[in-house]
């Protein structure tokens, strides 16, 4: 009996995970529960409990607009970095192996560089005296500097680049797994490169597209620093909405309702994409 229950030498007891499991329960899951409780207070001083006032306020026209705009920003950023990232990944798998580590290094450096530094870099690029404006002025294409910073497009382009490594790495992984014989066969049967791309490469790289989009989307909508510094004070997205209510206005119950709404939205989006991902893996297999 005892020999049956004994753990094989190649495995480790599940109890080794218990310290982290307890820590996560106390310091990650319990706080999310606390948010739930706090969100039912009717007032900022937290005296009346048991009302839906904060939730009604969260889902009023203004709150819904902020939520929708945040999701829209995430979609714009994800689409742009998908186009840019896919092209890079496609070229990467056709690059000589000796050059590949260099490209990986270029992709990874921003991933590990501080997000404030990366955002700051885009402020310098997009600013009135930045590289784009001075180049356009020198070429004589414009007379006065363009307003690039604090605009929607400035924010989308900067965010797409700040999050680009998250998109490129999964794409490279899934493109590398595709058997090169498939595209050779397709070409020898007379398909153009574009047809091969649409019919073979694109469907087979779906798991990478979904994994990359998931990470990029989640990162883009929560990118507090980039949103606040490049978007400026004119644009309001969920992270700043939450921060303003919690820090500047000390309205904790309302901030808790915003927080949970944001969390739930991300969970729904991520699981929907995950679902798509497992479906496409199943079809690709």
């Amino acid at each position: 009996m005892t020999t049956l229950r004994r753990l094989p030498v190649t495995a480790y007891s599940l109890w080794l995970a218990s310290p982290l499991a307890i820590a996560m329960l106390l310091f990650f899951l319990a706080p999310l529960g606390v948010l739930g409780v706090v969100s039912f207070y009717g007032d900022a001083a937290m005296t009346q409990w048991g009302t839906l006032a904060q939730w009604q306020k969260m889902f009023d026209a203004f709150g819904l607009m902020v939520l929708a705009d945040t999701l829209w920003l995430g979609i714009q950023v994800t689409l742009l970095s998908l186009v840019l990232g896919y092209a890079l990944a496609w070229v990467f798998v056709r690059t000589p192996t000796s050059l590949q580590p260099l490209i990986i290094f270029i992709v990874m450096l921003p991933l590990l560089t501080s997000v404030v530094v990366r955002t700051f870099a885009w402020i310098v690029v997009l600013g009135r005296q930045g590289i784009i404006n001075s180049a356009l002025l020198d070429l004589g294409w414009i007379d006065t500097p363009l307003k690039l910073l604090y605009t929607r497009w400035g924010l989308v382009v900067a965010l797409a680049n700040v999050q680009l490594p998250l998109m490129v790495l999964p794409l490279i992984n899934s493109l590398q797994k595709i058997d090169r014989n498939l595209s050779d066969a397709s070409a020898s049967l007379g398909a153009s490169e574009w047809q091969t791309f649409r019919k073979i490469t694109l469907p087979l790289s779906m798991p990478g597209i979904i994994a990359g989009s998931l990470l990029t989307f989640a990162a883009a909508i929560t990118a507090f620093i980039s949103q606040s510094l490049i978007g400026g004070g004119q644009m309001l997205f969920m992270p700043m909405y939450l921060y303003q209510q919690a820090s500047a206005l000390s309205n904790y119950p309302f901030a808790a309702a915003i927080s949970l709404t944001f969390l739930a939205t991300v969970i729904v989006c991520v699981s929907a994409l995950n679902r798509l991902g497992s479906l496409s893996r199943w079809r690709a297999a």
């Binding site: 030498v9 190649t10 495995a11 599940l14 080794l16 995970a17 310290p19 982290l20 996560m24 310091f27 990650f28 706080p31 999310l32 606390v34 948010l35 840019l84 092209a87 496609w90 070229v91 490209i103 270029i106 992709v107 990874m108 450096l109 921003p110 590990l112 560089t113 501080s114 997000v115 404030v116 530094v117 700051f120 870099a121 885009w122 402020i123 690029v125 600013g127 005296q129 590289i131 001075s134 680049n161 680009l164 490279i172 153009s192 490169e193 574009w194 909508i221 929560t222 507090f224 620093i225 510094l229 992270p239 939450l242 901030a255 808790a256 949970l260 944001f262 969390l263 991300v266 969970i267």
Partner: protein
């Protein structure tokens, strides 16, 4: 017929190739621009700078509020990394080879901070600590950072455990090695690069953390990324460009060292 096909191939390759070139440029340019601007002798972030000097790096040497925040961030990151490695390696060992349902649930719980909005968690942690009467301090910062940094250690450690041949442990056991001896002499040396890579990523992401620090820090425990953000909200200071230059060079050097020691790029791609 054949000519038309090669023309469309050319268009296709040209489009995708130039998009890829633009992407590479967009990845490199901002870093280079910051490094160049940090060497300006002027007072603005004008590119190209009117002239070059090291004055803003000298200025940085005197910026004591930045030193204070950087030192705090460093201390918190070291403690967070230590705690993340201790808890994370144990958890990775437990779940990596276990086929049980419990192990899968634990796995997705431990990795969930990677996609959930950390800002929501930072605020939730603040509420919880104040509900039990704990004021914000370095300790609360370390706890908060560990919750969001531990997934990196688990991911890289689990990946290197998956690559390890279980037959090695079986033969070590059949030769009479104890479980602990087998761990020390077989498992640990084989997973060490994965653990070190995870520790490095955890350190960098703690040092760079904004969403948790935003709520759990105060004037006594000022954190570098938050200090930089607040400085940039006020005015576009060239000292921040110099500080960015230092951070970029530091990250670059650490990445090269880690690549040599652990094959970091392979691990990040898993």
């Amino acid at each position: 017929m054949a000519r038309r096909k090669s023309f469309s191939t050319l268009v296709f390759r040209g489009t995708i190739g130039s998009l890829a070139a633009i992407t590479l440029l967009l990845l490199i340019a901002p870093t280079v621009v910051v490094l160049v601007v940090s060497l300006t002798n002027g007072y603005s972030l004008k590119f190209p700078p009117p002239g070059y000097s090291l004055r803003w790096y000298v200025e940085l040497l005197q910026a004591e509020h930045l030193h204070f925040a950087a030192w705090n961030s460093f201390k918190v990151a070291v403690a967070t990394t230590t705690l993340s490695v201790t808890l994370g390696v144990g958890a990775a060992l437990a779940i990596a080879r276990s086929p049980t349902r419990m192990a899968r649930i634990l796995d997705s719980t431990f990795l969930s901070p990677l996609v959930l909005p950390a800002l929501s968690f930072g605020f939730a942690a603040l509420m919880t600590f104040s509900a039990v009467g704990l004021g914000v301090s370095a300790t609360t910062l370390i706890i908060g950072h560990t919750a969001v940094c531990v997934p990196y250690v688990i991911r890289t450690t689990t990946a290197s455990l998956a690559q390890m041949d279980p037959a090695l442990l079986e033969s070590s056991a059949s030769l009479g090695a104890s479980r602990w001896y087998g761990f020390r002499r077989v498992t640990l040396p084989l997973i060490r690069p994965g653990v070190v890579a995870g520790a490095f990523i955890a350190f960098m992401s703690s040092f760079d953390n904004v969403p948790v620090s935003l709520f759990l820090r105060d004037a006594r425990t000022d954190m570098l990324p938050i200090r930089m953000w607040q400085d940039l909200e006020g005015k576009l200071d060239v000292t921040i460009a110099a500080l960015s230059g230092v951070i970029i060079v530091f990250t670059f050097v650490m990445m090269v060292l880690m690549e040599r020691a652990t094959g970091l790029s392979q691990r990040l791609r898993q």
